[in-house]
């Protein structure tokens, strides 16, 4: 231990040196809220499709019932899968991307994330358009915070998918 090092450490007792982070973060900081938003759109779309699906009447043939069951099952399976993708993506952003520093700018971060995950579970469990819409809104709220931490402005625009719901996009320079 050098004399200068001891001196610097002694100085810390009087006035602590600021920290220069040699920050480490594996894997390499590649995050994007778009996956969560896209999964939420899929959930909304599946609820729409389920609600539009014509139910077989009392005189429906076996083939018609089979086709109905097949479509309904496929929509439900996709809704299950994509609500889980939304949850997984939100958890990654919450646990890995957002840092304590971000809480200073967004004190509501934990509450937003927690509610977003609960909403995703509800959208998964039920055939509930409101829950699906709430999930999409929650992913948009997270996207707003995310892009702000990256220093990008955002626009809210109608998505170019059949769901056509309002979606938050970054304005890349």
């Amino acid at each position: 231990m050098s004399l200068l090092y001891s001196l610097a450490r002694a100085l810390d007792r009087v006035s602590p040196a600021p920290i220069a982070h040699a920050h480490c973060d594996i894997p390499c900081g590649i995050y994007d809220p778009h996956h969560a938003q896209l999964a939420a759109h899929t959930v909304v779309r599946m609820v729409d499709l389920i609600n539009q699906l014509e139910k077989p009447g009392p005189n429906a043939t076996a083939e018609q019932r089979q086709e109905y069951t097949n479509k309904l099952t496929r929509y439900i399976a996709t809704k299950e899968q994509h609500s889980e993708i939304a949850k997984s993506e939100l958890r990654i952003l919450w646990a890995d991307y957002f840092k304590p520093d971000h809480l200073k700018t967004f004190p509501e971060l934990h509450d937003t994330m927690w509610k977003a995950l609960k909403t995703a579970s509800k959208a998964r469990q039920e055939i509930n358009l409101q829950a699906a819409e709430d999930l999409l809104k929650a992913t948009n709220d997270v996207a707003l915070m995310f892009w702000k931490t990256k220093g990008f402005e955002t626009i809210t625009a109608k998505a170019p998918y059949p769901t056509e719901r309002q979606t938050v996009y970054p304005k890349f320079k």
Binding site: S2, R9, A17, I19, C28, G29, G151
Partner: protein
């Protein structure tokens, strides 16, 4: 403003050049009359949290108004690969002396 200021290093992205607990003395006037060069050790304001400081190495200084930064410990570094180039005004100064633990 006094030209020299000290920082204490935390985290591991600059290993083996800098270990956690080392101090660096930083010259805040180093880039008054000359530009950063590739290979310089610098302290910058974190582009993703401006109230925080990062210590990194300049990996590309070809841009007139910005530099790219990299950690010496490539597999464990959040740097310009994640947050892009850093404007020159975010540079606090050049590391002048390293005080090893």
């Amino acid at each position: 403003m006094f030209p020299f200021t000290r920082f204490r290093v935390e985290d591991e992205s600059m290993r083996p050049t800098l270990e956690p607990g080392d101090y660096v003395l930083v010259n805040r006037w180093a880039y008054r009359f000359q530009s950063p060069k590739r290979g310089d050790l610098v302290v910058v304001r974190d582009p993703e949290a401006l109230d925080r400081f990062l210590v990194k190495r300049v990996s590309d200084a070809t841009g007139p108004t910005e530099v790219r930064l990299a950690g010496d410990n490539r597999i464990a570094s959040r740097d310009s690969r994640a947050f892009g180039p850093v404007p020159l005004e975010r540079i606090v100064g050049k590391v002048w002396i390293r005080l090893k633990r």
